[in-house]
């Protein structure tokens, strides 16, 4: 009986064991493939690695935006028992300020357990050494190195280069790669417009992780593509000189290679320190920046709109010559004023300039001459010329804050529901009233006028060491017209009774052509003006006219164009012209066109200038 029953039990045991072995077979061999894949997914974690952002250099190979190692202290939360105690002990070694503590408090709430929590960034070498010494009392704290954007020239270049900031929610939705740790997105300046070039391609790394998500090792690594190296047209040495020349003035200056539109100097003062934004800016600092009447955050050279004043006169002359409204030798009479429709428009000279031709009109900067020319050729012709000279409309400069100049036509004004008076045309003749443009547009205009080519201002010279080629078409003006305008500008600086004798260059054999301009910022009451005792120098600073000057040199073979706008500088001849001359001298001495880290760029051939 026992034997029977025991054997029965043994049979049952054999059956059960056999079933289990069969089940194991099913699990391991039959379903093995799919389960193996699940195990692989279990243990591997694919992570993208942030590419290094492209560096930016000036034309001579000087770094203007780079990546600097950023030593930071992190804490692995999963390795600490009491995070607060570790943070407090850390603070006794490396002080933590309010902002750091607030950030730690915020991060610890939503950070994942195995992602290290940043305690402090931008550690100095001393900090790192002290932390290393105290490592035993700081469980879970580790030092690692990331990168942070570095701008060696600080406020000198801040308007042009811009800055980087952590991407926001919308950016991440646009490009998932931005969600990677340490990724920054360009805000403002070239960092913003060249984002696609600078960002690079993220790489991937496949890591083995344990059940807690802790990285155990690296399985495979595909290096990303670092951002392209950007070479600029700017010359930092020249840029620094221009900044020194401007000094305390609220001004902007643009230096351009007038043969190809390479912007070699682009300065707007005052400026701001871009690193202020990197580490977070305090409310008081921010308030002082935005309430400053000198507007340090605004890049006046590119986005400051000013009436061009008399610097606009060569453009009016070209418009009239092209429309065949005048000839260079045709004379107009200036009695010191011009009456139209019961309104009297004054010349800057109360005594008038008498009977003068184009050359003289430019030399003396006679207002009445250009009142009449403007009326004769009409606003449409002036607009057309302004557009082809770059004074009106967008310029292809690689800056997001570029503002287009505007030289409106009556038609355009009407479209916007405004009225056009005959006086508006008259005022436009001397670059006042509705005409507005930027210092960059003025430099472009000067370059085009000097070379007769449609040069386009640009800042990016090379991408990954390759020159960005361009094709430069000629201007739609007759050569004679251009020569007439240039010779008028030559007279402004070099002939007796020219308006800007102070702009004469003190360089042997090099002569400069230029044009002064003063732009009213406020209507001067007629009574005051007609009293003859009006002197704008007596006005408070913010009511004084802006002083402008445009020039190019050498006159016989134009290389460089310079435009200068000194805010509330009162008179172009006294305030802007000498500054422009100094800048031009610096430029010619430095000769940045021949100082490049590469073979020379594309250079347009200038027209002959001599008559």
């Amino acid at each position: 009986m026992f034997t029977r029953r025991a054997l029965l039990l043994l049979a049952v045991q054999t059956g059960v064991m056999g079933t289990l072995a069969h089940h194991l077979y099913k699990l391991q061999v039959v379903e093995g493939g799919t389960l193996k894949e699940q195990a692989r997914r279990n243990r591997t974690s694919r992570r993208q690695i942030s590419p290094a952002r492209g560096e930016i250099y000036d034309r001579c190979g000087v770094l203007v935006a780079g990546n600097k190692p950023n030593w930071r202290a992190l804490v692995m939360v999963e390795e600490t028992t009491d995070l607060q105690a570790v943070v407090d002990r850390f603070a006794t070694i490396v002080p933590l300020d309010e902002r750091d503590r607030a950030r730690i408090e915020r991060d610890r709430k939503h950070i994942r357990r195995y992602v290290p929590l940043t305690l402090k960034e931008f550690l100095t070498w001393d900090d790192v050494a002290r932390l290393g010494l105290n490592a035993p009392s700081l469980p879970g704290v580790l030092i690692d190195v990331g990168t942070t954007r570095e701008y060696p020239f600080k406020e000198l270049m801040s308007h042009i280069i811009g800055y980087v900031a952590p991407p926001n929610e919308t950016d991440v939705q646009h490009d998932a790669a931005l969600a990677l740790p340490g990724m920054k997105i360009g805000r403002g300046g070239l960092e913003q417009t060249q984002e696609a070039t600078l960002r690079g391609q993220p790489g991937t790394v496949e890591m083995e992780v344990n059940a807690y998500g802790r990285v155990m090792g690296e399985l495979e690594r595909v290096e990303g593509q670092p951002g392209a190296r950007l070479g600029l047209t700017l010359d930092t040495v020249l840029q620094t000189r221009i900044r020194e020349r401007i000094g305390e003035r609220v001004a902007s200056a643009v230096v351009m290679d007038c043969r190809n539109g390479e912007v070699m100097g682009l300065v707007s003062t005052p400026s701001f320190d871009p690193t202020l934004f990197d580490g977070g800016i305090s409310r008081t600092q921010w308030n002082s920046l935005i309430t400053d009447p000198a507007t340090p955050l605004v890049d006046k050279a590119v986005s400051g709109l000013y009436p061009p004043g008399s610097t606009f006169k060569p453009a009016v002359a070209l418009a009239a010559l092209k429309a065949r409204a005048i000839t260079p030798s045709e004379r107009f009479t200036c009695p010191g004023y011009y009456d139209m429709g019961g309104v009297r428009f004054h010349c800057w000279s109360r005594y008038g300039h008498g009977s003068i031709n184009l050359h003289q009109a430019l030399k003396y900067s006679c207002d009445v001459y250009f009142y009449q020319v403007a009326r004769r050729c009409g606003m449409d012709a002036i607009h057309e010329a302004a557009v082809s000279l770059g004074l009106s409309g967008h310029l292809p400069i690689e800056l997001p804050h570029m503002r287009a100049g505007s030289v409106p036509t009556p038609e355009m004004r009407r479209r916007h529901g405004h009225h056009w008076n005959g006086g508006d045309t008259v005022n436009a003749g001397i670059g006042q009233g509705l005409v507005q443009t930027t210092p960059l547009a003025l430099a472009t205009y000067t370059s085009r006028l000097a070379t007769g080519r449609m040069v386009q201002p640009h800042l990016v010279r090379t991408v990954s060491e390759k020159l960005v080629p361009e094709d430069i078409p000629p201007l739609p003006f007759a050569k004679d017209s251009l020569i007439a305008a240039r010779s008028g500008m030559f007279a402004v600086v070099n002939e007796p009774q020219g308006t800007a004798p102070k702009a004469r260059l003190n360089l042997p054999g090099v002569q400069m052509a230029g044009k002064t301009g003063s732009a009213q910022v406020r209507n001067v009451p007629r009574a005051l003006r007609e009293s003859g005792h009006f002197n704008s120098m007596n006005l408070p600073w913010q009511y004084r006219p802006h002083a402008l000057f445009i020039c190019f040199a050498p006159y016989d073979n134009p290389r460089y164009a310079v435009s200068v706008v000194v805010e509330h500088g009162n008179a172009g001849a006294t305030e802007a012209a000498p500054l422009a001359a100094q800048i031009m001298t610096d430029t010619l001495v430095r000769d940045p066109a021949n100082r490049t880290s590469l073979s020379r760029g594309v250079v347009a051939r200038a027209d002959d200038v001599s008559e």
């Binding site: 009986m1 026992f2 034997t3 029953r5 025991a6 054997l7 039990l9 043994l10 045991q13 054999t14 059960v16 064991m17 289990l20 072995a21 089940h23 194991l24 077979y25 699990l27 391991q28 061999v29 379903e31 093995g32 493939g33 799919t34 389960l35 193996k36 699940q38 195990a39 692989r40 279990n42 243990r43 083995e208 992780v209 344990n210 059940a211 807690y212 155990m216």
Partner: protein, 384 residues
Amino acid sequence: MSLKDFTVPRTARRLLRAEPNLRMFSRLWQINWFFVLLVCCLAGVGYIALYSAGGGRAEAFAQPQIIRFGFGLLMMLGVALASPRVLRMLSIPIYGLSILLLALVLKMGHVGKGAERWINLGGFQFQPSEFSKIALVLMLSTWFYRIGRERMGNPLRLIIPAILTAIPVVLVLKEPNLGTATIVGVIGASLFFAAGMRWWLIILLAAPIPFLGPFLYSHLHDYQKARIDTFLHPEHDPLGAGYNILQSRIALGAGGRWGQGYMHGTQGQLSFLPEKQTDFIFTMIGEEWGYAGGVLVIGLLFLITMSGMLIALRCRNRFGRLVGLGISMDFFLYCVVNLSMVMGVIPVGGVPLPLISYGGSAMLTMMFGFGLLLSSWVHRDDPD
């Protein structure tokens, strides 16, 4: 059935059979060394697996476990030499002690992971439920030995052993450890069966069991219900309750036919496997050694079970037979419940894989049980 082939040499056997009262050395010679070898093999498998589970460090799990095994081996050989008369005399105190410990653990035990209850015995932790299984085998065998085969037909005679079985089952159930309680119950039932319980009674008692299912389910603890739900639908909560089952299945599958290689199982080495050194050690073996290794381990477990059953069959006295069968069933049930658990066949419950899983009480009580098994082998030819 050629039992003789796997026992001691024939000449020695004949020689020893003539002398019923063997001297100590001769009795040692009588021990079934083949069985001891199988047990040592299993412990060896455990050592190798625990070495891997410890991440390549013997001191983590493998070394303490093998030291325990050493003690267990000595204890097993000692028990193997004890005469059945002494064991029968000790059965009541041992059973009483086991019940006392079970009651004590309910009062003051430490609750482990959900269910297992531990008692702290001066420095080392002890699980009385493990011990109660052996005690029950000894107790029931003694009882059935006493009443003899003939009186098994009287159902009234079975009331006391039924109560003796019910006490530990209920106490373990109260811990609450459903898995071990079931094992204790099944061991008891198999002893009733082997002792000669009448078929009509068996059928009468077994008939209502299918209808008891829903009733039992409604009396389960919430955690036990959750465990069953998790078992039926592990994918509902892959990172929570269903995690163990899913990861265990994944690990076994990842092992494939030949395994990922010793110490190279990603699921085990990267801690995806829960409790890989204790209840889920077989999963790690399956992952690292593949189906080939897993089936070898199952084969070894089966060989030990079968040897135990053959020892019981070979035994000539009722007490030895019942002890041998009870211990074999105990071992077998341990293996089956653990293997089914890690393969996801039955809901998870804290049942270790004997001699392989890391843990002291299970190892020592199992070795004590093997000692009883060997004792019945040594005294196989004693008359009833």
